[in-house]
Symmetry: C2
Subunit: 236 residues, 2 copies
DNA sequence: CGGGCGATTGACGGTCATCAAGCTGTGTGG
DNA sequence: CCACACAGCTTGATGACCGTCAATCGCCCG
């Protein structure tokens, strides 16, 4: 696959950012925003384009503005575990290690702000507001990771899929308007690698849920026809 | 089971704390340490004694000083997933939610410092040093959680057990002197619930690893007789 | 010595992975 | 405009891995 270079676009001011209220940037006042903007770049990534890879030296951190990114780890033999999907407002770069411990790439088209890590750290260093906001994000991520461990370790295939659909829907609802159809921009393979299943099992489980009247499979997503039952299956 | 009350002990000054250099407290100077000490309490927990439970209101956060705690989540039907073991130096209370999202209890005898969360937050609020240290801890926890997701989602039983033993050994090595025998204070059931397996599978896998000359099972732990092979099995 | 708990071992079966074939929709070129 | 190719998804057949159920062992402690 040809590695394409991310396109850059205008230096759109942070003060106009549409995801600011959901992002770490909400902790910053106008002045700080302007300073942050002075060393940030807005980048575009194409579908499946890598953003960074495991073991690479960390040079930047990112705010997702539009689109979805998958975050994953690979085992030497090629097995893949997706550890999360990053949505608009999410911050990537909590890690303090000097090398990336995960890889990230764009699922569909993605727009993200990039900060040079060194500059960002210096910027954040003496801003307790921002540091606390970052803590908050880290804590939320950690809680999500713990929930995912339960899913991976203790839930059946059907519970995994139902749980994923419910959780995904809730996440989308938090950042945008509720819609009848829940879009699933990622592939079945992505879902499988997120849930610790195979693509076949995911596909079969979708079909089963549809047969049971819990969901309806539509182009590019699903319609949750019986949310109550889905939540029951998710065994919250 | 009778719920026993944690015993309290002397207000040992933080300045003498043996785990300080590994704990978040390393970010504090003498003055700050004294202030922190003024609202901390050292508590003892007995084996299997609960420290806090999922859904309870969060009132405190903790530093582990001695012993091991298990952190876990329960599903309504009783299935349990252990999301981590906390060792001396670990900080518990990164979560920002007002209710605990996990439960914690002592594996063996445990000594921990408790801080009233509200006071601790106020204390940390304007100390960038401490906030950054907490960030660092959160990032490390998150990286660990991601590694655990790979284990849970993509590794076989044998890989899980080998990986657990290697990682556990490394963690112990970081906080104390290396020993020939790697102690395993937690039960087989705990290990199973940590690895997303059943106790029988864990037991069988231990036996297999011993037959294969990778480990030797001893009272209260194991001896890693072939670390290289264990690491290969762990498929880092 | 006997009770009890944790760990081990064995027999069996279910869930989900594997392997393989067919399907669907989209884009491409004649 | 239709045939074709291709990629992603679905469906089917089979079997392995690990869960379940059950019995036994070993050890500690009363």
């Amino acid at each position: 696959m040809k590695r394409s270079i991310a396109g850059e676009y205008c230096e759109q001011p942070c003060t106009d950012c549409t995801v600011r209220s959901h992002a770490i940037c909400a902790a910053l006042d106008e002045d700080a925003l302007r300073e942050l903007g002075s060393f940030s770049h807005v980048l575009q990534y194409r579908p499946n384009e890598p953003v960074f890879s495991q073991d690479e030296i960390v040079t930047s951190c990112y705010n997702v503005r539009e689109g979805v990114m998958r975050l994953y780890k690979l085992l030497p033999d090629g097995r893949r575990q997706i550890v999360g999907f990053a949505l608009p407002g999410d911050f990537i770069g909590l890690s303090h290690s000097d090398r990336h411990v995960i890889s990230a790439d764009a699922v569909g088209p993605v727009v993200a702000c990039r900060f040079v890590k060194r500059q960002f750290s210096r910027f954040a260093e003496e801003r307790p507001n921002l540091l606390r906001r970052i803590n908050e994000f880290a804590a939320r991520e950690l809680a999500g990771a713990q929930e995912q461990m339960v899913l991976l370790g203790r839930r059946s295939a059907e519970e995994k899929v139902a749980s994923f659909l419910v959780t995904w829907r809730e996440r989308l609802a938090q950042i945008g308007p509720a819609t009848a159809i829940t879009p699933l921009p990622m592939s079945r393979q992505d879902i499988a690698d997120y849930l610790g299943l195979t693509i076949e099992t995911v596909s079969r489980t979708f079909t089963k849920l549809e047969r049971d009247g819990v969901i309806e499979i539509v182009q590019g997503g699903i319609r949750l026809t019986d949310a109550a039952r889905a939540e029951a299956l998710a065994a919250a």
